[in-house]
Amino acid sequence: GAGVSQSPSNKVTEKGKDVELRCDPISGHTALYWYRQSLGQGLEFLIYFQGNSAPDKSGLPSDRFSAERTGGSVSTLTIQRTQQEDSAVYLCASRPGGGTDQPQHFGDGTRLSIL
C-alpha cells in the first residue's frame, strides 16, 4: 500500500509569511508524529497525535507552531510568521498505534527554506 505522503516536497517563502505543511499517513495508522530535522542535527520531536486523544504538543518550539489532524487521518502543521531559524526538513511519521512495539514509518519530508 501507499506510504506516508507529505506535501509540498519543497517550500521557499519569505520571512514573516505563514506556511502549511501536509501529511497523509498510512491508511489505518492511528498514531501520527511531526519532527523537524536540521542539518547535522537529529530528529526533533514536535507533536504527536493518537486517535481521538488530545495531542502531545510538548515539542512545539513556540506558539507560532500549531498542528491539527482532521478525521483521524490527514494532518497539517502550520508555522505562522516564519523566521529564518525555521528553515529545516519537516518529517511526518505514522504507526499503527497502541503498544510500544510498533515502529514508525516516515514520509520524505518537506524542505522548508525561509528567505
Binding site: 502531545d56 518529517l91 510500544t100
Partner: protein, 110 residues
C-alpha cells in the same frame, strides 16, 4: 546526557568491508530498538527492528543489542555503494515518544 547517543562520523569504507555502526542509550527501561536508513533528500526508512538482547539478522544486516552495557550495533557485511546513507538508531519510551540518535553518515567507496 541524551537518551540515545550516536557517533556522527562520517564513516568511509571500501566496498566489501564490514561496517559497524553503534549507539549507546541511557535509560534501562528501553526495550525496543530500531535502525533507520536515510538516503539524501529522503525520509528515514525502517531497516531493522529488535527487541531485548541478542542478535537479529536480515540478509547482510545484523542488529545487536547488549542491554548490560546499553549498547546497540548495526553490522553491514559486504558493504555496497548503495549502502551509502545516514543510519539512525532509535528507541521508544512509554509507547509515545521515540528517541533518535543524531545519525552516522556512511560512504562506501567503490
Amino acid at each position: 546526557q541524551k537518551e540515545v547517543e550516536q557517533d556522527p562520523g562520517p564513516l568511509s569504507v571500501p566496498e566489501g568491508a564490514i561496517v559497524s555502526l553503534n549507539c549507546t542509550y541511557s535509560n534501562s527501561a528501553f526495550q525496543y530498538f530500531m535502525w533507520y536508513r536515510q538516503y539524501s533528500r529522503k525520509g528515514p526508512e525502517l531497516l531493522m527492528y529488535t527487541y531485548s538482547s541478542g542478535n537479529k539478522e536480515d540478509g547482510r544486516f545484523t542488529a545487536q543489542v547488549d542491554k548490560s552495557s546499553k549498547y546497540i550495533s548495526l553490522f553491514i557485511r559486504d558493504s555496497q555503494p548503495s549502502d551509502s546513507a545516514t543510519y539512525l538508531c532509535a528507541s521508544p519510551r512509554g509507547g509515545n515518544q521515540f528517541y533518535f540518535g543524531t545519525g552516522t553518515s556512511l560512504t562506501v567507496i567503490p
